[in-house]
Symmetry: C2
Subunit: 356 residues, 2 copies
Amino acid sequence: VRRFLPLLAAMLAMPALAQDAAEPPTPASVVAAAPASDWRAIEPADLLVMTLAPDRDGNPRQVVIQLVPAPFSQGWVGNIRALAKAHWWDGMTVYRVVDNWVAQWGAGEDEEGKSKPLPEGLRVVSESEYTSTQLDIQLAGLEERTPEMERAVRQAVEAAQPDPREDEMTADITSTRTRQAREGWHERDSYSTWVEFFESWPVGNDSRPDADSEFWPVHCYASVGVARDLSPDTGTGAELYAVIGHAPRQLDRNIAVVGRVIEGIEHLATLPRGKGEAGVYDDPALRVPIISVRLGDELPEAERPRFRYLGSDTASFAEYVRVRAKRNDSFYNVPAGGIDVCNVQVPIQRRVAEPK
Amino acid sequence: VRRFLPLLAAMLAMPALAQDAAEPPTPASVVAAAPASDWRAIEPADLLVMTLAPDRDGNPRQVVIQLVPAPFSQGWVGNIRALAKAHWWDGMTVYRVVDNWVAQWGAGEDEEGKSKPLPEGLRVVSESEYTSTQLDIQLAGLEERTPEMERAVRQAVEAAQPDPREDEMTADITSTRTRQAREGWHERDSYSTWVEFFESWPVGNDSRPDADSEFWPVHCYASVGVARDLSPDTGTGAELYAVIGHAPRQLDRNIAVVGRVIEGIEHLATLPRGKGEAGVYDDPALRVPIISVRLGDELPEAERPRFRYLGSDTASFAEYVRVRAKRNDSFYNVPAGGIDVCNVQVPIQRRVAEPK
């Protein structure tokens, strides 16, 4: 028998089990207990389905990407929709993989190295669109909250703060600078004044007392961004990367985050690392052919991907973050007290098709 | 021709190039300019060399792990040395791989599923050894610094702070609470009062005005830790994991960090993810045989791994962190201002053998 059971990730990776009365809540138990009304459907039109060639054992490889919602990166997202509708990526390859960094595809060359012109009508998008000031307004509109939800959110915010920062956070919560904290959990980090969630996407912001705050979607594991050349407006959305390592947050505000892989990231993360310049495969045989990339709503009804996410404006989400930040179930001895925004891991589930 | 050059990581992943006079320093240029005296040799005795079976194309797979120095985790490190000397891992397997989490080996069963008793004399190590209060004393001994180094460190600390926190950081720098900041860069984060570097290892601490501060080595990408069962003293060091995703900092102080993979992490990170319970390979054919694990000084002279790291007590290291936290070379438009401790990526290099 195996003497040392691999319990390390059991509470994180396992499906929810029946909750023992004596056991404190776990992230899985909070997710399992969330009412159906706390879940939001992801429209198939907001998903990209990338089908890679099967692996060498013939196993299928499908990667599903959720596109980031307005007000973020919509110039590039529009280009990406146009590229998908033109079937532009079909026959391209994943051609660059760097350990603890990114896997990248869509270099404009197909498997045989033939270059492929971009479709007409793509926008040149300015670097000013890396951030948005519109979120302040949208979050300010979220004031309609039940007293119950307000209590849960407040408790979560307070419980998530470790001692040294408690005073300062409490002070800030009542100031105008933290208007954007209304949706629930927020925390300072090294890359922004606050990180928080908007429609269940992690966003950073720099709070400025004398101007509108800027918000931006942050890079986490499995984030998808627009590769570009040195000039910041050179990325069209045709060439994309997915993060396969520790969150490269220094790229925030320097490159457009346009989506996140919500299923199949392992098909990119396990690819051999490139040994050519900047991690490009020097051996063309290593390039991974892309069979097709489709918007979810272009697929036949039966094949459309159906997913849902736990809304970041719900009491369930606030409780989920609180529990993740203060693990005190049986494996944990010392609750962390805080949590890195990229360790929150928004609950996203594949939905079973509704009965007719 | 490829129209969109994959420059994304060029400045991070590329070897240092001749520096253009007009170009600000990059992490690579700082590392290239560091004098030999800023580098420290890693003793072969402090390295574990794990040789996995070749991959299916016959390519060799070697993983080199640096063991964490005193005062951290030395009970487990002692057990690991004893296990390596007993050749205990030879014939074991990497048997569990979870995406964005860990690869794990040494379950006590060999390739044929035969269980193998542990060698005599392993210590049972208490969870009290997850942290140490000894570092306060050691760091307090680092007061001998040249005025030049002091200036560089001070500039780096000041330059690395984004505006909202500047006042508070400056105030803290002069207080007794931040004695441990002497080695150079430090920053607050969600998981500890301060994170900083000790002998080029990332460490967290909780500063307590009324007691000795506790310090602990933090989990980053490629960190190696001791898997255990629910009871915190059940990990011997025989079963180990390496982090292959975003830093699971919630494990800090809950599990022993005993080392870090300094070469070959890709041989673990690219392994297929397990589909059994908690990511264990349900198909035994997927298990990756471990040919051998040796302490570096047990290898014949010519095969001994020789590495060096940039000392975190040097001006070069302070400048390296400053530049990484405020990238303003040609690709970057918005310098982050701060940096996550796990994004510092301590410079570690394989050394060319000295001429005789």
